[in-house]
Amino acid sequence: MTDPLMLTGVSLALFVIVGAIAVASSILVVSMRNPVHSALFLLLTFLCVAILFVSMGAEFVGAVQVLVYAGGIMVLFLFVVMLINVKALPKEKVFTATSMMGVLMGVLLFIILAIILASGTWAPAVNAPENLRTAVVVKTTPVVDAGGATIQTETVTRDVVGNAEAVGMALYRDYLVPFEVASLFLLVAMVGAIVIGKRELDASEEEAIPEFIAKKVSDEDRLKEVTGA
């Protein structure tokens, strides 16, 4: 057991149990016929993944997983389910010949991958849990004299205190540009949702006053007429 990432004892048991729950609940997400049940199993999957992140020493990512996915995304899912008001999907035969072939292929692929990946040799872990907390930050600040000229540079070396900082360093320094591209990606997703979701462009239809407003105005007018008269 020379590999520092090799799990043993309690952590191995934790990984196996939580991982099994995550896989089982993600299968239930797609097989449940009631959307609310699916959403709740999705929540369970997110929580299990968060536990796995924490057990790997990535507390920050685990916390973000809970906050963003289990908190934010989940609420959105439930909102959508509530708004479109689907009770349950119609019953259909799940275990057809085609889907059984798919399951068989999936299991075979899993066995092949498991056997091959177990025999592979891996690079030494650069991001082992202890590395995440002891990464060294070198900070260079110029020291300026009274005249405004740089006389020397002062180098400060300190350890990263938590892995939020390590994630921040990776995200906003090393991978700043891909991070920005991800924001463009979200913008494209938003534009796409609007383009697909909005009504057909028809100028006359859009300029017209919606019927219920027009009706209300006419009601008020009539009331004024009646009371004024």
Binding site: L117, A123, V177, L187, I196, L201
Partner: protein
């Protein structure tokens, strides 16, 4: 990040800001003004082309950025090709956007973001930067494929493309994570150093296979091609032109860069897989195209076959092979956009102009355009006076010199098969009579046909500049691979 870094990323920055401005423009005036949107997009493309020249002359970027992106001649070649292709597609799209049923500004904005993603792909030297660029391109493509949102076929195309594309992205990402696990880095040069000593590492090979499967999906190679005919047929024709040229060329740019820069020393482990994929793509693509009566579907299958030919250049792992990929992408883009423009020229409703019968008797009503179509088809088939010959010559020569004579034989045989179904269109145009062939009076589509005609003939008759340009563009990557 320094100011020099911003200069280095100028084309991408110009495109992202321009894409946002295209979204804001309808607020100022001309809500759903297709003409204004078209000219704004063309202006943005001119600015981007200028920015590419500025960025190519910019200094070496800071370390953090330099590991993610380069602005080598290889990237510049593809970036300029992307700009030209998108400019042609902008003019083709104007036709269906100007009647005002579909919002034009958002369309061009999505096109600009897709181009931005392709730019990141062309210059990325790190699997992360390549991946985010690829995803930006893919997401914009899914939406564009469904732009005829009231047509069932277009929505179906978008849905199929989205589900299969997302799955393939997952496979690609899993492959990248395994490569990271084996090599300890995602930077292509670091990967190349790491894999030099790990031939036969099973986990690494699985990673490369999954990565290759994801990339093969993006270039539409067999057996990852199932989405192609449906998506190409269902999407609006200008979007189909975009998917079959711009998107495919961008995917080949990263295919070539990843395999030449990162995985060249692992060649004995992956060459038989890529050889099989190339052979299957050529055979299945061409044989399936023979039976099609729908022109868009036929061209979709033929584009699968073209992915197979271009894979020969990746497989060869030689200077001439990489040169062949670049030349082939250039000539393929012009011939293919020309063909799609011809399909659009015969359009009467959303989807008409796509049956082989619609080309009946075109020779009588529009002899120039019938001639142009013949030139494009000859170029796609690789017949000498046209540019397609030069591309295929380089690819086949590369395959033979790398010891894949059997693949070259398949390629030549399948090119002959492709001439068979291309000539069904020629027969329809020249030997049959038909009232169907009325050409729409669109100056922009005609202009694109003429531009592609001139480019295909010029590059075929006077190929020296193109060949020298390609040789210059591959220099940094070939030097790296032979080190």
């Amino acid at each position: 990040m320094t100011w020099a870094d911003l200069l280095f990323l100028l084309p991408e920055i110009v495109l992202s800001i321009g894409g946002c401005l295209l979204l804001l423009a309808p607020v100022i005036g001309g809500r759903n003004n297709g003409v204004a949107a078209k000219w704004s997009m063309l202006l943005l493309l001119v600015a981007t082309a200028a920015a590419i020249y500025v960025a190519a002359g910019a200094g070496i970027p800071s370390l953090a950025l330099g590991t993610l992106f380069v602005a080598d001649p290889f990237a510049v070649f593809f970036k300029l090709l992307f700009v030209v292709v998108i400019a042609m597609i902008t003019l083709l799209s104007a036709e269906f956007l100007e009647d005002g049923r579909y919002s034009a500004w958002e369309y061009y904005s999505l096109m600009a973001f897709a181009l931005c993603g392709m730019m990141f792909m062309a210059s990325g030297t790190h699997l992360i930067s390549i991946y985010v660029g690829l995803e930006l391109l893919s997401l914009a493509s899914y939406i564009l494929a469904g732009y005829y949102k009231n047509e069932t076929r277009s929505t179906e195309a978008a849905m199929k493309y989205f589900v299969l594309g997302a799955t393939s992205s997952g496979i690609l990402l899993y492959g990248m994570s395994l490569i990271y696990g084996a090599c300890g880095s995602l930077h292509l040069e670091a990967i190349s150093q790491a894999v030099a000593t790990m031939a036969g590492n099973q986990a690494l090979i699985i990673g490369v296979m999954l990565l290759g499967a994801g990339l093969c999906f993006k270039v539409a190679a067999v057996p990852f091609h199932v989405w192609t005919p449906d998506v190409y047929t269902g999407a609006p024709t200008p979007v189909t032109a975009f998917l079959s040229t711009a998107s495919k060329v961008a995917a080949f740019a990263i295919f070539a860069r990843i395999f030449y820069m990162g995985l060249h020393s692992l060649e004995p482990d992956w060459n038989s897989i890529i050889a099989t994929v190339a052979a299957l793509s050529m055979i299945v693509g061409n044989l399936a195209a023979v039976t099609q009566t729908n022109v868009k579907r036929m061209l979709a299958y033929s584009s699968i076959a073209h992915a197979g030919y271009a894979l020969l250049g990746v497989l060869a792992m030689s200077e001439i092979g990489l040169q062949g990929v670049l030349i082939y992408m250039l000539v393929y883009a012009f011939a293919n956009i020309g063909t799609w423009a011809m399909v659009m020229l015969l359009r009467r409703r959303e989807y008409a102009g796509e049956n082989v019968d619609d080309f009946d008797g075109l020779h009588k009503s529009a002899p120039l355009y019938a001639f142009a179509m013949v030139v494009f088809l000859l170029s796609l088939g690789g017949i000498p006076p046209t540019a397609g010959f030069i591309g295929k010559y380089y690819l086949f020569a590369a395959a033979i010199s790398a010891g894949y004579a059997w693949l070259a034989v398949i390629a030549v045989l399948m090119s002959a098969v492709s001439m068979f179904y291309y000539f069904r269109l020629v027969v329809a145009m020249y030997l049959k009579d038909g009232a169907a062939a009325d050409v729409i009076p669109s100056r922009q589509v005609r202009f694109i046909v003429i531009v592609c005609l001139i480019a295909t003939l010029t590059l075929g008759i006077l190929p020296e500049r193109m060949i020298r340009g390609a040789a210059r563009s591959i220099a940094p990557i070939v030097n790296l691979a032979s080190r």
